[in-house]
Symmetry: C2
Subunit: 288 residues, 2 copies
């Protein structure tokens, strides 16, 4: 969907190779050549002021940077950004804006560390603003949920090779529009947010899939992207539910094969593909 | 191991109920009563100065607080802490010290957001100091690895009920000394660090187990606790390996059933229980 005023900042294209080959000893004492995920620090500067250091697989650092700034609500419009330049030698990404960041001290001073796998970060200015968001109601067909889960099985390449990554996907109908893996699902989610912004995709009628848990922070990111339906193979938290109910996000979790649980927005599911009792396998729970 | 000068700060005992019962709709359109994990914000203040907000299951908030301060190297000795007081109504924990925190501005000003599930946080003062740590070499028997994995299967109660949590354990020989679950593995790890400090357990001859991935941040936490052996069912990252090699941490990962991979410290494994070829099942990889 292009427009006459389709703006993009000047950007580097500095994606890294995602996996490394290393040697490891197995239970037989035999040496195996295995693949592991990379993990590189990327320190984000806006107009030469340091914001944060992200640890990332490094495949889409520009989209990650832009998405991070969007989801943390440092920047409201893409047109505020003049350039995004990644330099891996210096382990930094420099964002230059046209007019600077408003309310810098307020935005940078308070930190909230959310769940992540313990200590993710959502600047608390995000949390305050999110309660004003109300998403439009969107319905989803059960058959589409199954089609998406099936399509998603084709992805997850890095995971298959190296493990130790999380995947997120932006979906529409039964299609995967964009799939991202990173060592952390918050970075993967922010990368999607960045790509959406750059391509002017709205969250309308989109589904956000993640391999990670649906915590309050992920719900918040989805809301920031305007996406009303979340899909995950993992579980949910109570605060994620509370936030989702407030903003109007539908949470479909523990999704695997034919099984899923709808925690919020139950009225938005169209049950057009209810499985018969004997074709459903109840899979073992796994750690997320 | 008690001593005459076994010091403990004054502490509240304010653990929360870990799971909640909610209703969710399954693939048949039927209502299920399911358990989900709680996720509560806890804002940490030292001498009335705000440090960070952690999202936690909330079962061991005092140990989490103390462990966080230890692992982030805000405080060097437990005897610096006068009191730790959790107040859930105000969603805060107040730590009072006897003499204040040295180098406050330096410790609080730089932030590093590490992998977590995207964006965990390790203040960068931790990173600088960790390269000076050298851990003593410790060996581990393969039979002990299997015994621990077996013992750990008995735990994970909250996970069985609600999913959406990570577990960490402090182990010695074939025993689990202490097992902690939290919505994030960094918080679970910090809680263990706090308990170790309070009980004056050293990391010597201990094994640190986590369901989460062995990233650079987890390696750093283990090193801060003086623990030289890491065990995980999940994968590793390349930066985790680099750091582990530098400090002398043995990484045993992808551990499930009889299978595991040793990424660093291979000479520290005593192969006294090599499985026979036909009893080993190669399990499917899972998302961490």
């Amino acid at each position: 969907m292009t427009q006459d005023n389709f703006y993009q900042p000047m950007m580097s294209q500095a994606g890294l190779k995602p996996t490394f080959s290393v040697l490891a000893l197995d239970e037989y004492g035999l040496t195996n050549e295995v693949h592991i995920a990379g993990e590189s620090p990327l320190t984000l500067f806006i107009d030469n002021k340091e914001v944060v250091t992200l640890m990332t697989l490094g495949i889409y650092p520009e989209a990650l940077t832009i998405g991070y700034l969007r989801n943390q609500r440092f920047i409201e419009y893409l047109t505020e950004i003049k350039s995004v330049c990644v330099n891996w030698d210096r382990e930094r990404v420099d964002v230059v804006t046209f007019k600077g960041i408003t309310e810098w001290d307020r935005k940078i001073s308070k930190r909230t560390i959310t769940t992540g796998c313990g200590q993710g970060t959502v600047f608390s200015c995000s949390v305050d603003k999110i309660y004003h968001v109300r998403l439009p109601e969107v319905q989803i067909k059960q058959s589409y949920i199954y089609a998406l889960l099936n399509a998603l099985n084709q992805y997850n390449e890095i995971y298959r090779q190296a493990g130790a990554v999380h995947g997120c996907a932006l979906c529409e109908g039964t299609e995967i529009l964009y799939f991202v893996e990173d060592v952390g699902r918050h970075n993967a989610a922010d990368t999607i947010a960045g790509q959406m912004w750059l391509n002017q995709w709205t969250g309308e009628n989109k589904v956000f899939y993640t391999t990670g848990r649906l915590t309050s922070e992920i719900v918040m990111k989805a809301a920031n992207m305007g996406i009303a339906i979340l899909l995950s193979r993992s579980g949910v938290t109570q605060m994620g539910i509370e936030l989702a109910e407030q903003i109007g996000v539908t949470m479909i979790a523990r999704a695997k094969g034919k099984h899923f649980l709808v925690y919020t927005g139950t009225k938005n599911i169209i049950f057009d593909a209810i499985p018969s009792m004997d074709t459903v396998k109840i899979l073992d729970k796994h750690y997320e």
